[in-house]
Protein backbone atom coordinates (compact mmCIF):
# COMPACT_ATOMS: atom_id res chain seq x y z
CA UNK A 1 0.00 0.00 0.00
CA UNK A 2 1.53 3.24 -1.11
CA UNK A 3 1.22 6.70 0.34
CA UNK A 4 -1.57 9.11 -0.50
CA UNK A 5 -0.54 12.00 -2.73
CA UNK A 6 -2.42 15.16 -3.66
CA UNK A 7 -3.52 15.77 -7.23
CA UNK A 8 -5.31 18.54 -9.09
CA UNK A 9 -6.97 17.37 -12.28
CA UNK A 10 -8.78 19.62 -14.74
CA UNK A 11 -12.38 18.47 -15.19
CA UNK A 12 -14.75 19.96 -17.71
CA UNK A 13 -15.53 20.34 -21.38
CA UNK A 14 -15.75 23.08 -23.99
CA UNK A 15 -18.35 24.95 -21.94
CA UNK A 16 -15.98 25.36 -18.99
CA UNK A 17 -14.36 23.53 -16.14
CA UNK A 18 -11.82 23.84 -13.36
CA UNK A 19 -9.17 22.04 -11.33
CA UNK A 20 -10.55 19.46 -8.90
CA UNK A 21 -8.60 18.19 -5.89
CA UNK A 22 -8.03 14.48 -5.32
CA UNK A 23 -6.04 12.36 -2.92
CA UNK A 24 -4.82 9.19 -4.58
CA UNK A 25 -2.69 6.29 -3.51
CA UNK A 26 0.69 6.16 -5.29
CA UNK A 27 2.93 3.09 -5.28
CA UNK A 28 6.58 2.79 -6.03
CA UNK A 29 7.50 2.76 -9.72
CA UNK A 30 4.23 4.28 -10.90
CA UNK A 31 3.77 6.96 -13.53
CA UNK A 32 1.18 9.72 -13.75
CA UNK A 33 -0.97 7.70 -16.15
CA UNK A 34 -1.19 4.89 -13.55
CA UNK A 35 -2.50 7.41 -11.06
CA UNK A 36 -5.07 8.69 -13.56
CA UNK A 37 -6.20 5.09 -14.03
CA UNK A 38 -6.44 4.61 -10.26
CA UNK A 39 -8.52 7.78 -10.07
CA UNK A 40 -10.87 6.33 -12.69
CA UNK A 41 -11.04 3.02 -10.88
CA UNK A 42 -11.61 4.36 -7.39
CA UNK A 43 -13.05 7.88 -7.38
CA UNK A 44 -14.01 9.34 -10.76
CA UNK A 45 -15.21 6.67 -13.18
CA UNK A 46 -16.21 9.39 -15.64
CA UNK A 47 -12.75 11.00 -15.89
CA UNK A 48 -11.91 11.09 -19.61
CA UNK A 49 -8.35 10.33 -20.64
CA UNK A 50 -6.87 9.13 -23.94
CA UNK A 51 -4.26 6.39 -23.66
CA UNK A 52 -3.05 3.27 -25.40
CA UNK A 53 0.34 1.66 -25.04
CA UNK A 54 1.63 2.87 -21.65
CA UNK A 55 5.14 2.64 -23.07
CA UNK A 56 5.75 6.03 -24.65
CA UNK A 57 5.32 4.70 -28.17
CA UNK A 58 1.77 5.56 -29.19
CA UNK A 59 1.67 9.25 -28.33
CA UNK A 60 -1.87 9.15 -26.95
CA UNK A 61 -1.55 10.22 -23.33
CA UNK A 62 -0.20 13.72 -23.99
CA UNK A 63 -1.18 16.01 -21.14
CA UNK A 64 0.25 18.88 -19.16
CA UNK A 65 1.74 17.82 -15.85
CA UNK A 66 2.61 20.69 -13.53
CA UNK A 67 2.24 22.98 -16.52
CA UNK A 68 4.76 21.11 -18.68
CA UNK A 69 3.59 19.20 -21.76
CA UNK A 70 4.48 15.56 -21.18
CA UNK A 71 3.37 11.99 -21.80
CA UNK A 72 1.44 10.71 -18.80
CA UNK A 73 2.96 7.25 -19.17
CA UNK A 74 6.53 8.54 -19.22
CA UNK A 75 6.33 10.84 -16.21
CA UNK A 76 7.46 8.96 -13.14
CA UNK A 77 5.88 9.83 -9.81
CA UNK A 78 9.35 9.58 -8.29
CA UNK A 79 10.25 12.87 -10.00
CA UNK A 80 7.92 14.70 -7.61
CA UNK A 81 8.44 15.20 -3.91
CA UNK A 82 6.00 13.42 -1.59
CA UNK A 83 4.34 16.61 -0.38
CA UNK A 84 4.02 18.06 -3.86
CA UNK A 85 0.60 18.57 -5.44
CA UNK A 86 0.69 17.31 -9.02
CA UNK A 87 -1.48 19.30 -11.42
CA UNK A 88 -2.74 17.52 -14.53
CA UNK A 89 -4.47 19.48 -17.30
CA UNK A 90 -5.36 18.81 -20.93
CA UNK A 91 -3.25 20.19 -23.78
CA UNK A 92 -3.97 23.91 -23.97
CA UNK A 93 -3.42 24.51 -27.64
CA UNK A 94 -6.21 22.27 -28.93
CA UNK A 95 -9.96 22.44 -28.30
CA UNK A 96 -10.96 20.35 -25.33
CA UNK A 97 -13.46 17.51 -25.75
CA UNK A 98 -13.71 16.45 -22.13
CA UNK A 99 -11.40 16.42 -19.13
CA UNK A 100 -7.96 15.41 -20.39
CA UNK A 101 -9.04 14.60 -23.94
CA UNK A 102 -8.50 17.22 -26.62
CA UNK A 103 -9.44 17.40 -30.28
CA UNK A 104 -6.12 17.22 -32.11
CA UNK A 105 -7.59 17.32 -35.62
CA UNK A 106 -5.65 20.54 -36.29
CA UNK A 107 -2.63 18.28 -36.66
CA UNK A 108 -4.37 15.89 -39.05
CA UNK A 109 -5.44 18.78 -41.22
CA UNK A 110 -1.87 20.04 -41.35
CA UNK A 111 -0.68 16.50 -42.09
CA UNK A 112 -3.02 16.30 -45.04
CA UNK A 113 -1.76 19.60 -46.43
CA UNK A 114 1.87 18.44 -46.29
CA UNK A 115 2.94 17.08 -49.70
CA UNK A 116 3.56 13.34 -49.59
CA UNK A 117 6.63 11.43 -50.73
CA UNK A 118 7.15 11.92 -54.45
CA UNK A 119 8.42 8.70 -56.08
CA UNK A 120 11.53 9.11 -58.22
CA UNK A 121 10.89 9.08 -61.98
CA UNK A 122 12.09 5.96 -63.79
CA UNK A 123 12.70 3.83 -60.70
CA UNK A 124 10.00 1.16 -60.34
CA UNK A 125 8.75 0.21 -56.90
CA UNK A 126 10.90 -2.61 -55.59
CA UNK A 127 13.99 -1.07 -57.14
CA UNK A 128 14.43 1.69 -54.54
CA UNK A 129 18.01 1.58 -53.30
CA UNK A 130 19.42 3.92 -50.69
CA UNK A 131 22.69 4.14 -48.81
CA UNK A 132 22.41 4.28 -45.06
CA UNK A 133 24.37 7.56 -44.79
CA UNK A 134 21.92 9.17 -47.19
CA UNK A 135 18.78 8.13 -45.40
CA UNK A 136 19.82 8.33 -41.75
CA UNK A 137 18.95 11.98 -41.32
CA UNK A 138 15.40 11.22 -42.46
CA UNK A 139 15.26 8.23 -40.15
CA UNK A 140 15.66 10.37 -37.05
CA UNK A 141 12.37 12.05 -37.88
CA UNK A 142 10.64 8.71 -38.39
CA UNK A 143 10.92 8.20 -34.66
CA UNK A 144 8.09 10.70 -34.24
CA UNK A 145 5.16 9.11 -32.37
CA UNK A 146 2.80 12.00 -33.13
CA UNK A 147 2.05 12.83 -29.52
CA UNK A 148 1.76 16.47 -30.66
CA UNK A 149 3.52 17.77 -27.55
CA UNK A 150 5.69 19.93 -29.83
CA UNK A 151 2.61 21.29 -31.59
CA UNK A 152 1.06 21.98 -28.19
CA UNK A 153 4.03 23.73 -26.65
CA UNK A 154 4.91 25.88 -29.67
CA UNK A 155 4.01 29.41 -28.64
CA UNK A 156 3.24 30.36 -32.25
CA UNK A 157 -0.09 28.55 -32.01
CA UNK A 158 -0.34 28.03 -28.25
CA UNK A 159 -0.48 31.75 -27.50
CA UNK A 160 -1.81 32.97 -30.86
CA UNK A 161 -4.80 31.01 -32.07
CA UNK A 162 -4.95 33.18 -35.20
CA UNK A 163 -1.66 31.69 -36.44
CA UNK A 164 -3.14 28.20 -36.72
CA UNK A 165 -4.24 28.85 -40.27
CA UNK A 166 -0.79 29.82 -41.53
CA UNK A 167 1.46 27.71 -39.31
CA UNK A 168 1.91 23.96 -39.69
CA UNK A 169 3.99 23.42 -36.56
CA UNK A 170 7.19 21.58 -35.65
CA UNK A 171 5.82 18.11 -36.32
CA UNK A 172 5.24 19.00 -39.98
CA UNK A 173 8.54 20.82 -40.29
CA UNK A 174 10.29 17.57 -39.42
CA UNK A 175 8.08 15.85 -41.98
CA UNK A 176 9.10 18.41 -44.60
CA UNK A 177 12.76 18.03 -43.61
CA UNK A 178 12.47 14.25 -43.63
CA UNK A 179 11.25 14.25 -47.22
CA UNK A 180 13.55 17.05 -48.37
CA UNK A 181 16.57 15.11 -47.06
CA UNK A 182 15.25 11.79 -48.38
CA UNK A 183 17.59 10.44 -51.06
CA UNK A 184 14.78 9.26 -53.33
CA UNK A 185 12.20 11.98 -52.93
CA UNK A 186 11.73 13.67 -56.27
CA UNK A 187 10.02 16.85 -55.12
CA UNK A 188 12.35 19.81 -55.43
CA UNK A 189 10.36 22.67 -53.97
CA UNK A 190 9.79 21.51 -50.38
CA UNK A 191 11.87 24.35 -48.99
CA UNK A 192 9.85 26.95 -50.83
CA UNK A 193 6.67 25.21 -49.75
CA UNK A 194 7.74 25.10 -46.11
CA UNK A 195 8.46 28.80 -46.21
CA UNK A 196 5.46 29.94 -48.22
CA UNK A 197 2.70 27.56 -47.14
CA UNK A 198 3.74 25.98 -43.85
CA UNK A 199 4.71 29.23 -42.15
CA UNK A 200 8.26 28.27 -41.22
CA UNK A 201 9.12 31.95 -40.90
CA UNK A 202 6.93 32.08 -37.79
CA UNK A 203 9.34 29.86 -35.92
CA UNK A 204 11.78 31.89 -33.83
CA UNK A 205 13.97 28.95 -32.78
CA UNK A 206 13.07 29.10 -29.10
CA UNK A 207 13.45 25.31 -29.07
CA UNK A 208 10.51 24.37 -26.86
CA UNK A 209 9.54 21.66 -29.36
CA UNK A 210 12.93 20.02 -28.87
CA UNK A 211 12.63 20.39 -25.10
CA UNK A 212 9.32 18.52 -24.85
CA UNK A 213 9.92 15.80 -27.47
CA UNK A 214 9.61 12.41 -25.71
CA UNK A 215 11.55 10.75 -28.54
CA UNK A 216 14.38 13.28 -28.14
CA UNK A 217 14.26 14.24 -31.79
CA UNK A 218 16.44 17.31 -32.31
CA UNK A 219 13.57 19.08 -34.02
CA UNK A 220 15.12 22.55 -34.09
CA UNK A 221 18.76 21.72 -34.78
CA UNK A 222 18.26 18.89 -37.25
CA UNK A 223 15.04 19.85 -39.03
CA UNK A 224 13.88 23.43 -38.66
CA UNK A 225 17.25 25.19 -38.85
CA UNK A 226 18.45 23.05 -41.80
CA UNK A 227 15.16 23.80 -43.57
CA UNK A 228 15.54 27.50 -42.84
CA UNK A 229 19.07 27.34 -44.22
CA UNK A 230 17.82 25.55 -47.32
CA UNK A 231 15.32 28.35 -47.84
CA UNK A 232 18.19 30.82 -47.46
CA UNK A 233 20.05 28.88 -50.17
CA UNK A 234 17.26 29.44 -52.59
CA UNK A 235 16.09 32.86 -51.64
CA UNK A 236 18.71 34.94 -49.90
CA UNK A 237 22.24 33.76 -50.69
CA UNK A 238 23.93 35.17 -53.83
CA UNK A 239 27.13 33.18 -53.20
CA UNK A 240 25.30 29.89 -53.49
CA UNK A 241 23.51 31.15 -56.56
CA UNK A 242 26.86 32.13 -58.10
CA UNK A 243 28.38 28.76 -57.21
CA UNK A 244 25.52 26.95 -58.87
CA UNK A 245 25.87 29.05 -61.98
CA UNK A 246 29.66 28.73 -62.28
CA UNK A 247 30.07 25.04 -61.47
CA UNK A 248 26.68 24.04 -62.94
CA UNK A 249 25.92 22.05 -59.81
CA UNK A 250 22.24 22.36 -60.54
CA UNK A 251 22.73 20.20 -63.62
CA UNK A 252 25.21 17.79 -62.02
CA UNK A 253 22.82 16.81 -59.26
CA UNK A 254 20.05 15.97 -61.69
CA UNK A 255 22.37 14.01 -64.00
CA UNK A 256 23.78 11.93 -61.16
CA UNK A 257 20.36 10.86 -60.08
CA UNK A 258 18.94 9.93 -63.46
CA UNK A 259 21.92 7.94 -64.78
CA UNK A 260 21.92 4.17 -64.50
CA UNK A 261 18.28 3.75 -63.57
CA UNK A 262 16.72 1.05 -65.73
CA UNK A 263 13.51 1.83 -67.52
CA UNK A 264 10.88 -0.73 -66.74
CA UNK A 265 8.53 0.49 -69.42
CA UNK A 266 10.90 -0.57 -72.22
CA UNK A 267 11.49 -3.99 -70.71
CA UNK A 268 7.79 -4.75 -70.67
CA UNK A 269 7.03 -3.91 -74.30
CA UNK A 270 9.88 -6.16 -75.47
CA UNK A 271 8.23 -9.27 -74.15
CA UNK A 272 5.07 -8.96 -76.23
CA UNK A 273 5.52 -12.42 -77.78
CA UNK A 274 5.79 -14.02 -74.38
CA UNK A 275 2.74 -12.06 -73.37
CA UNK A 276 0.63 -13.49 -76.15
CA UNK A 277 1.88 -17.00 -75.50
CA UNK A 278 0.82 -16.89 -71.86
CA UNK A 279 -2.37 -14.98 -72.46
CA UNK A 280 -0.94 -11.93 -70.78
CA UNK A 281 -1.89 -8.45 -71.80
CA UNK A 282 -0.01 -5.61 -70.18
CA UNK A 283 -1.99 -3.12 -72.23
CA UNK A 284 -5.36 -4.25 -70.95
CA UNK A 285 -7.69 -1.37 -70.35
CA UNK A 286 -7.75 -0.45 -66.70
CA UNK A 287 -11.16 0.46 -65.30
CA UNK A 288 -11.31 4.16 -64.40
CA UNK A 289 -10.62 4.74 -60.70
CA UNK A 290 -13.57 5.53 -58.53
CA UNK A 291 -13.72 9.06 -57.24
CA UNK A 292 -12.78 9.42 -53.59
CA UNK A 293 -15.64 10.17 -51.16
CA UNK A 294 -14.64 13.78 -50.59
CA UNK A 295 -16.75 16.36 -48.80
CA UNK A 296 -17.69 19.84 -50.03
CA UNK A 297 -14.17 21.12 -49.34
CA UNK A 298 -12.84 18.51 -51.77
CA UNK A 299 -11.18 16.47 -49.03
CA UNK A 300 -11.60 13.13 -47.35
CA UNK A 301 -13.22 13.27 -43.92
CA UNK A 302 -10.59 13.74 -41.24
CA UNK A 303 -11.92 10.91 -39.10
CA UNK A 304 -14.57 8.24 -39.08
CA UNK A 305 -16.81 10.40 -36.92
CA UNK A 306 -17.31 12.92 -39.71
CA UNK A 307 -17.43 10.32 -42.51
CA UNK A 308 -20.69 9.04 -44.00
CA UNK A 309 -19.60 5.39 -43.93
CA UNK A 310 -18.09 3.03 -41.44
CA UNK A 311 -14.39 2.35 -41.68
CA UNK A 312 -11.85 4.14 -43.82
CA UNK A 313 -12.23 4.28 -47.60
CA UNK A 314 -10.57 1.39 -49.43
CA UNK A 315 -7.31 2.36 -51.10
CA UNK A 316 -8.47 0.24 -54.09
CA UNK A 317 -11.75 2.15 -54.42
CA UNK A 318 -14.93 1.28 -52.58
CA UNK A 319 -16.48 -0.42 -55.65
CA UNK A 320 -13.63 -2.94 -55.91
CA UNK A 321 -14.42 -6.44 -54.66
CA UNK A 322 -12.02 -9.24 -53.86
CA UNK A 323 -10.95 -11.75 -55.11
CA UNK A 324 -10.44 -10.01 -58.43
CA UNK A 325 -11.78 -11.79 -61.55
CA UNK A 326 -8.84 -13.95 -62.85
CA UNK A 327 -9.32 -12.97 -66.51
CA UNK A 328 -8.35 -9.42 -65.64
CA UNK A 329 -5.02 -10.42 -64.10
CA UNK A 330 -1.61 -10.69 -65.72
CA UNK A 331 -0.22 -13.87 -64.20
CA UNK A 332 1.49 -16.72 -65.96
CA UNK A 333 1.70 -19.91 -63.96
CA UNK A 334 5.26 -21.26 -64.29
CA UNK A 335 4.14 -24.90 -64.74
CA UNK A 336 1.09 -24.37 -66.91
CA UNK A 337 2.76 -25.39 -70.19
Amino acid sequence: MGAKRRFKVWRGDETGGDLKDYEVEVNEGEVVLDVIHRLQATQTPDLACRWNCKAGKCGSCSMEINGTPRLGCMTRMSTFTEDETVTVTPLRTFPVIRDLVTDVSFNYEKARQTPAFAPPVGVPPGQYRMQQVDVERSQEFRKCIECFLCQNTCHVVRDHEENKRAFAGPRYFIRAAELDMHPLDAKEDRKEYAQASMGMGYCNITKCCTEVCPEHIKITDNAIIPMKERVVDRRYDPLVWLGRKIFRRDQLDGAGQAAGTPSLVGARTEGSEVEQHHGLNWHREIPPPQAAPVDETGRLPISEITADRAGGPSPFGDDQTFPLPPEGLNYAHPERD
Partner: protein, 267 residues
Protein backbone atom coordinates in the same frame (compact mmCIF):
# COMPACT_ATOMS: atom_id res chain seq x y z
CA UNK B 1 -23.56 6.41 -28.87
CA UNK B 2 -21.52 8.95 -27.01
CA UNK B 3 -22.85 12.47 -26.97
CA UNK B 4 -19.59 14.26 -26.29
CA UNK B 5 -18.77 16.94 -28.78
CA UNK B 6 -16.29 16.19 -31.50
CA UNK B 7 -18.29 18.01 -34.10
CA UNK B 8 -17.18 21.16 -35.86
CA UNK B 9 -18.31 24.21 -33.98
CA UNK B 10 -17.18 23.15 -30.52
CA UNK B 11 -13.78 24.75 -30.74
CA UNK B 12 -13.11 26.10 -27.24
CA UNK B 13 -9.88 25.34 -25.47
CA UNK B 14 -9.86 24.12 -21.89
CA UNK B 15 -10.67 27.04 -19.59
CA UNK B 16 -7.62 27.02 -17.34
CA UNK B 17 -7.38 30.20 -15.30
CA UNK B 18 -3.69 30.11 -14.39
CA UNK B 19 -1.40 31.52 -17.08
CA UNK B 20 1.11 28.80 -16.39
CA UNK B 21 1.01 25.89 -13.97
CA UNK B 22 4.74 25.30 -14.06
CA UNK B 23 6.09 24.87 -10.57
CA UNK B 24 9.79 24.65 -11.42
CA UNK B 25 12.04 27.69 -11.59
CA UNK B 26 11.42 28.36 -15.28
CA UNK B 27 12.34 32.02 -14.82
CA UNK B 28 15.90 31.18 -13.75
CA UNK B 29 17.35 30.45 -17.21
CA UNK B 30 16.03 33.70 -18.79
CA UNK B 31 17.19 35.63 -15.73
CA UNK B 32 20.72 34.27 -16.04
CA UNK B 33 20.65 35.13 -19.75
CA UNK B 34 19.59 38.71 -19.03
CA UNK B 35 22.29 39.15 -16.39
CA UNK B 36 24.97 37.43 -18.47
CA UNK B 37 24.27 39.10 -21.79
CA UNK B 38 23.43 42.46 -20.20
CA UNK B 39 26.63 42.48 -18.15
CA UNK B 40 28.74 41.47 -21.13
CA UNK B 41 27.24 44.10 -23.43
CA UNK B 42 27.77 46.77 -20.77
CA UNK B 43 31.41 45.76 -20.30
CA UNK B 44 32.04 45.61 -24.05
CA UNK B 45 30.43 49.01 -24.65
CA UNK B 46 32.55 50.67 -21.97
CA UNK B 47 35.71 49.05 -23.31
CA UNK B 48 35.05 49.84 -26.95
CA UNK B 49 34.59 53.55 -26.23
CA UNK B 50 37.49 53.75 -23.78
CA UNK B 51 39.97 54.16 -26.65
CA UNK B 52 43.00 53.18 -24.55
CA UNK B 53 44.74 50.20 -22.93
CA UNK B 54 44.24 47.94 -25.92
CA UNK B 55 47.87 47.34 -26.91
CA UNK B 56 50.83 46.03 -24.93
CA UNK B 57 53.90 47.47 -26.63
CA UNK B 58 56.42 45.02 -25.18
CA UNK B 59 54.65 41.83 -26.08
CA UNK B 60 52.45 42.98 -29.00
CA UNK B 61 49.24 41.93 -27.28
CA UNK B 62 46.20 43.40 -29.03
CA UNK B 63 42.76 42.95 -27.53
CA UNK B 64 40.14 41.42 -29.87
CA UNK B 65 37.85 44.38 -29.15
CA UNK B 66 40.29 46.64 -31.03
CA UNK B 67 41.25 44.34 -33.86
CA UNK B 68 41.79 45.30 -36.61
CA UNK B 69 42.66 48.78 -35.36
CA UNK B 70 41.79 51.19 -38.18
CA UNK B 71 41.30 54.71 -36.80
CA UNK B 72 43.78 57.58 -36.65
CA UNK B 73 44.09 57.11 -32.89
CA UNK B 74 45.64 53.65 -33.18
CA UNK B 75 49.27 53.25 -32.21
CA UNK B 76 51.10 52.50 -35.47
CA UNK B 77 52.37 49.09 -34.30
CA UNK B 78 48.82 47.93 -33.56
CA UNK B 79 47.43 49.10 -36.90
CA UNK B 80 48.46 46.17 -39.11
CA UNK B 81 45.92 46.96 -41.76
CA UNK B 82 46.33 50.74 -41.98
CA UNK B 83 44.23 53.53 -40.51
CA UNK B 84 41.33 54.60 -42.67
CA UNK B 85 38.93 56.25 -40.25
CA UNK B 86 39.07 59.55 -38.36
CA UNK B 87 39.66 59.38 -34.61
CA UNK B 88 36.24 60.68 -33.61
CA UNK B 89 35.29 59.29 -30.19
CA UNK B 90 32.11 57.64 -31.42
CA UNK B 91 33.99 55.52 -33.94
CA UNK B 92 35.38 52.36 -32.33
CA UNK B 93 38.92 51.36 -33.23
CA UNK B 94 37.58 48.11 -34.65
CA UNK B 95 34.86 49.80 -36.69
CA UNK B 96 35.34 47.24 -39.46
CA UNK B 97 34.92 44.08 -37.42
CA UNK B 98 32.58 44.97 -34.52
CA UNK B 99 29.41 45.51 -36.58
CA UNK B 100 29.83 42.14 -38.27
CA UNK B 101 30.63 40.37 -35.02
CA UNK B 102 27.56 41.95 -33.46
CA UNK B 103 25.50 40.85 -36.46
CA UNK B 104 26.96 37.33 -36.28
CA UNK B 105 25.97 36.93 -32.66
CA UNK B 106 22.66 38.77 -33.06
CA UNK B 107 21.51 36.47 -35.87
CA UNK B 108 23.06 33.33 -34.33
CA UNK B 109 20.50 30.55 -33.94
CA UNK B 110 21.50 30.06 -30.31
CA UNK B 111 21.48 33.73 -29.31
CA UNK B 112 18.13 34.15 -31.04
CA UNK B 113 16.68 31.56 -28.70
CA UNK B 114 18.36 33.20 -25.72
CA UNK B 115 17.22 36.75 -26.31
CA UNK B 116 13.80 35.95 -27.72
CA UNK B 117 13.16 34.12 -24.48
CA UNK B 118 14.94 36.36 -21.99
CA UNK B 119 14.53 39.86 -23.41
CA UNK B 120 11.56 39.64 -25.75
CA UNK B 121 9.55 37.13 -23.65
CA UNK B 122 8.41 35.37 -26.78
CA UNK B 123 8.01 33.02 -24.93
CA UNK B 124 9.92 33.43 -21.63
CA UNK B 125 9.96 29.65 -21.17
CA UNK B 126 8.19 26.63 -22.64
CA UNK B 127 4.46 26.54 -21.89
CA UNK B 128 4.67 30.01 -20.34
CA UNK B 129 2.55 32.55 -22.23
CA UNK B 130 4.09 34.87 -24.77
CA UNK B 131 4.30 38.47 -23.52
CA UNK B 132 2.78 39.84 -26.72
CA UNK B 133 -0.70 40.21 -28.15
CA UNK B 134 0.20 39.38 -31.73
CA UNK B 135 3.05 37.43 -33.22
CA UNK B 136 4.48 37.34 -36.71
CA UNK B 137 7.76 35.58 -35.99
CA UNK B 138 10.48 36.05 -38.54
CA UNK B 139 8.13 36.36 -41.50
CA UNK B 140 8.49 40.07 -42.14
CA UNK B 141 10.68 43.15 -41.67
CA UNK B 142 12.82 43.54 -39.61
CA UNK B 143 13.18 40.01 -38.28
CA UNK B 144 13.23 38.46 -41.73
CA UNK B 145 16.83 39.69 -41.83
CA UNK B 146 17.71 36.98 -39.32
CA UNK B 147 18.10 34.93 -42.50
CA UNK B 148 21.25 36.91 -43.24
CA UNK B 149 23.11 34.88 -40.63
CA UNK B 150 25.17 33.26 -43.35
CA UNK B 151 26.75 36.54 -44.46
CA UNK B 152 27.65 37.32 -40.88
CA UNK B 153 29.21 33.87 -40.70
CA UNK B 154 31.41 34.56 -43.73
CA UNK B 155 32.47 37.85 -42.15
CA UNK B 156 33.12 36.19 -38.79
CA UNK B 157 35.38 33.68 -40.55
CA UNK B 158 37.50 36.52 -41.96
CA UNK B 159 37.61 38.24 -38.57
CA UNK B 160 38.67 34.98 -36.91
CA UNK B 161 41.57 34.88 -39.36
CA UNK B 162 42.57 38.39 -38.29
CA UNK B 163 42.34 37.39 -34.63
CA UNK B 164 44.54 34.37 -35.35
CA UNK B 165 47.07 36.66 -37.01
CA UNK B 166 47.03 38.91 -33.92
CA UNK B 167 47.57 35.93 -31.62
CA UNK B 168 50.55 34.73 -33.68
CA UNK B 169 52.12 38.21 -33.79
CA UNK B 170 51.84 38.32 -30.00
CA UNK B 171 54.59 35.73 -29.57
CA UNK B 172 56.93 38.62 -29.12
CA UNK B 173 59.14 40.29 -26.60
CA UNK B 174 61.57 43.23 -26.84
CA UNK B 175 64.31 40.63 -27.48
CA UNK B 176 62.48 38.91 -30.32
CA UNK B 177 60.48 35.75 -29.62
CA UNK B 178 58.56 35.66 -26.37
CA UNK B 179 55.89 33.60 -24.67
CA UNK B 180 53.84 34.49 -21.61
CA UNK B 181 50.50 33.94 -19.92
CA UNK B 182 49.01 36.55 -22.24
CA UNK B 183 49.81 34.29 -25.21
CA UNK B 184 48.03 31.38 -23.58
CA UNK B 185 44.97 33.57 -23.10
CA UNK B 186 45.10 35.01 -26.62
CA UNK B 187 45.55 31.60 -28.25
CA UNK B 188 42.89 30.04 -26.05
CA UNK B 189 40.51 32.81 -27.09
CA UNK B 190 41.24 32.29 -30.77
CA UNK B 191 40.77 28.54 -30.52
CA UNK B 192 37.41 29.02 -28.82
CA UNK B 193 36.41 31.68 -31.37
CA UNK B 194 37.14 29.23 -34.19
CA UNK B 195 35.20 26.51 -32.41
CA UNK B 196 32.24 28.85 -31.99
CA UNK B 197 32.42 30.08 -35.59
CA UNK B 198 32.76 26.60 -37.09
CA UNK B 199 30.00 25.16 -34.90
CA UNK B 200 27.58 27.70 -36.40
CA UNK B 201 24.38 26.23 -37.87
CA UNK B 202 24.99 28.05 -41.15
CA UNK B 203 28.47 26.53 -41.35
CA UNK B 204 26.99 23.11 -40.71
CA UNK B 205 24.60 23.66 -43.58
CA UNK B 206 27.21 25.01 -46.00
CA UNK B 207 29.80 22.35 -45.22
CA UNK B 208 27.48 19.45 -45.98
CA UNK B 209 24.00 19.86 -44.54
CA UNK B 210 22.68 21.13 -47.85
CA UNK B 211 23.55 17.89 -49.65
CA UNK B 212 20.92 15.32 -50.42
CA UNK B 213 23.30 12.42 -51.06
CA UNK B 214 26.08 12.18 -48.50
CA UNK B 215 27.34 9.01 -50.20
CA UNK B 216 28.39 11.05 -53.25
CA UNK B 217 30.43 13.48 -51.14
CA UNK B 218 32.33 11.41 -48.54
CA UNK B 219 34.73 14.22 -47.58
CA UNK B 220 31.95 16.73 -47.06
CA UNK B 221 30.05 14.11 -45.11
CA UNK B 222 33.00 13.70 -42.75
CA UNK B 223 33.32 17.45 -42.39
CA UNK B 224 29.59 17.67 -41.72
CA UNK B 225 29.84 14.96 -39.06
CA UNK B 226 32.64 16.89 -37.36
CA UNK B 227 30.77 20.19 -37.49
CA UNK B 228 27.61 18.46 -36.25
CA UNK B 229 29.48 17.30 -33.15
CA UNK B 230 30.67 20.84 -32.49
CA UNK B 231 27.25 22.21 -33.36
CA UNK B 232 25.68 20.27 -30.51
CA UNK B 233 27.85 22.42 -28.22
CA UNK B 234 27.00 25.70 -29.93
CA UNK B 235 25.31 27.13 -26.85
CA UNK B 236 28.22 26.30 -24.57
CA UNK B 237 30.67 27.71 -27.11
CA UNK B 238 28.59 30.88 -27.40
CA UNK B 239 28.93 31.48 -23.67
CA UNK B 240 32.54 30.31 -23.46
CA UNK B 241 33.59 32.75 -26.18
CA UNK B 242 31.85 35.61 -24.39
CA UNK B 243 33.92 34.65 -21.36
CA UNK B 244 37.21 34.27 -23.22
CA UNK B 245 36.66 37.54 -25.12
CA UNK B 246 36.03 39.46 -21.92
CA UNK B 247 38.94 37.73 -20.15
CA UNK B 248 41.36 38.39 -23.01
CA UNK B 249 40.32 41.99 -23.22
CA UNK B 250 40.56 42.47 -19.46
CA UNK B 251 44.00 40.85 -19.32
CA UNK B 252 45.33 43.02 -22.12
CA UNK B 253 43.80 46.09 -20.49
CA UNK B 254 45.31 45.25 -17.12
CA UNK B 255 48.78 44.57 -18.52
CA UNK B 256 48.58 47.65 -20.75
CA UNK B 257 47.49 49.88 -17.87
CA UNK B 258 50.17 48.45 -15.63
CA UNK B 259 47.75 47.00 -13.02
CA UNK B 260 49.82 43.82 -13.07
CA UNK B 261 52.62 42.57 -15.24
CA UNK B 262 52.46 39.67 -17.67
CA UNK B 263 53.67 36.33 -16.39
CA UNK B 264 56.48 35.44 -18.82
CA UNK B 265 57.57 31.87 -19.54
CA UNK B 266 60.17 32.66 -22.23
CA UNK B 267 61.72 36.14 -22.52
Amino acid sequence: MTTTATRPGARARAAIAAKTLRTDRWWLAPLITVIGLGGWVAYATVRVFMHKWYWVEDFHYLTPFYSPCITDRCVPEAAHFGTYLPGWWIIPEAAFSLPFLLLFRLTCYYYRKAYYRAFWMSPPACAVPDGHKTYGGETRFPLIFQNAHRYAFYAAGIISLINTYDAILAFHSPDGFGFGLGNVILVGNVVMLWAYTISCHSCRHIIGGRLKHFSKHPMRYRAWTFVSKLNARHMQLAWITLGTLALTDFYVMAVSAGWFSDLRFIN
